[in-house]
Amino acid sequence: MTKKQRSTLIRIIVSTLLLAALWAASGALASAMTALGAPVPAAALIRLALYMIPYIIIGHDVIRKAFKGIKNRQPMDESLLMCIATMGAAILAFYEDMTGSVGEYEEAIAVMLFYQTGEWFQSVAVGKSRRNISELMDIRPDHATIMTDGKAEQVDPDEVAIGSEIIVNPGEKVPIDGIVTEGTSSLDTAALTGESLPRNIGIGDEVISGCINLTSPLTIRTTKEFGESTVSKILDLVENASSRKSRSENFITKFARIYTPVVVYSAVALAVLPPVARMLFLSTDPAWGTFIYRALSFLVISCPCALVVSIPLSFFAGIGGASHAGILVKGSNYLETLSEADTVVFDKTGTLTKGSFEVDAVHLSPLSEEELIKTVALAESASSHPISVSLKKACKKEPDLSRVSNIEEIAGHGIKAVVDGKNVAVGNTRLMVDVGARYVECPDDAGTVIHVAIDGDYAGHIVISDVIKPDSAAAIQHLRSSGIKRIVMLTGDASKIADSVAKTLGISEVHPELLPQDKVQWVDDAITGRGAEKGRLAFAGDGINDAPVLSRADIGIAMGAMGSDAAIEAADVVLMDDNPLRIADAIGIAKMTLRIVKENIVFAIGIKLLCLLLSALGIAGMWLAVFADVGVMVLCVLNAMRALITTKSVA
């Protein structure tokens, strides 16, 4: 609680007690007046003075603000409305006192009291929500520990230059992106990825700022400045996310701009027209008091606060909850678009599959599987082609480079090299034709086939394939069950491979053999072809070479983007880990947030209109009016906080 909130709370308590005391003593007061034989005006003045004490205690700042508003020509604010309403009620009470009956001052004070209580509650609730959300996103490191002259020194992360060695002790956050140069440990990446299992790391591994070191000290050589590090980028992105306003928020701003003046003018009309009509046409008592009272209730209801507070808060909570689950949404508008998605287009490699190849089988080789892979790995030792990298990984052992010589890489064919004095050729069928080896086509059609020839004789082939991520199939199912109508896979791979992956995952629509520009074209056609239909198209890619597609789609989702600047730039939604299940989670969070937003809009506007109607008819008094103002707002704020509770699919 801030100082201001505490003082408001004290004022609320004091004036409540005073009001209760006055109310309890009012009978005694009245009989005392009669006993003393005070004339009616004097008694009325004494009552006014007494009741003004709690009124001033609770309302002085509102009154002051209202007058400042008038002075600065910004009169249309709620302080003024509250002033007019409560002062109006007090004047009515005084008028009744003067005419000999007993006026109800209690109401004027109680309304102000209610209003302040509501404001206080709102301020506390919003503050609490803000803190909750910030805590979820609390990944900002406080300091970095650097070694100077053999002594550890804590400095501001901003002051650490690229290439410095920093020390991260267990329990501390990694402050800056870098590479481990000493130590092994496990890292808690939950704040970044939502992934609950710790990640084991050792020398040579890249670490990303924002992770928490769990077990033992690490020395890290920084590769970026703090401002360029993952943690700064994410914080910047999330903090600015709510600046990109959604259509709902813009609607509310516009609505509020019209709503308040309309209600104020209606109030004036309500105060003037019925009494005048009664006088002129019905020739009855104009009942000015009644209608002015009803008009005052109108004024209390006119504040659009419930809407202007709860709608942005819902989005803010949704974005905060999502970021806690490892899903960064760049703006409220994207959350809104995401909730309307009915088509999800996937890029295959790196999104549904791991993007790294594994050896499926070795066929027709005179050598043992292990021997063949080792030979091939040696021949490919100098190549950085993804296939070579995967084969080297399959070999497991570090290649002994002294066994290889005369490496020759022939683009589009493969590699020729001398291994242990033998001429080894590794590549596709064209290379086999070149070296005169009689190759055999592979009957297994789901993977990429690498043929091998040794000294011109065919030595079998290795079938490798891209591995489907373990959660991909579940992700597709989740998407279907969450109402995504059309799921499409785009890939640059051959149709055999694409079909086989699609079949495994249960995707019916596949477009293979697309170059990056074809993918953009396809997405463009899909969006324009759909015309004015309602649904939105989301594209999910790994963000490495599909930036143009990410930006063309209605909403671009980049996966596994931890540390990839290009992806964070191009995408609208960034998934911190590369688990495709998060796409369904993200859509789920978006839908939930938008449902809450709609609930709040309907609830707040509905209750307000109902209360306006009831008070115009004189069925409800100012009490209900105050509920319509602050009660609805508090309920909406509480409802908005539900968006913070995010459900996450397992794994």
Binding site: G69, Q122, R130, N240, S243, T253, V309, P312, F316
Partner: protein, 72 residues
């Protein structure tokens, strides 16, 4: 040039008013007030000096919403 400032304000409606007032201030190209993060992002006109513009922004904001604070 863009700069970000911490602010203190009580209600979302008031934050919206501050945003309007800041946008109209001379030397300011665009402004976004983020009530939730209690931050204000101001984009200045080319050649405008934030040190010279910001006091005007504060005066303008105080005028529409007495209860606000901008930390320079």
């Amino acid at each position: 040039m863009k700069k970000s400032y911490k602010i203190e304000v009580d209600c979302a409606n008031c934050a919206a008013k501050m945003e309007e007032a800041t946008k109209k201030t001379e030397g300011v190209k665009d402004a976004v007030v983020n009530f939730m993060a209690l931050k204000m992002n101001v984009e200045f006109e080319d050649g405008a000096d934030p040190k010279e513009v910001m006091p005007r922004v504060i005066t303008a904001c105080k005028k529409v919403e007495d209860d606000c604070e901008i930390y320079l």
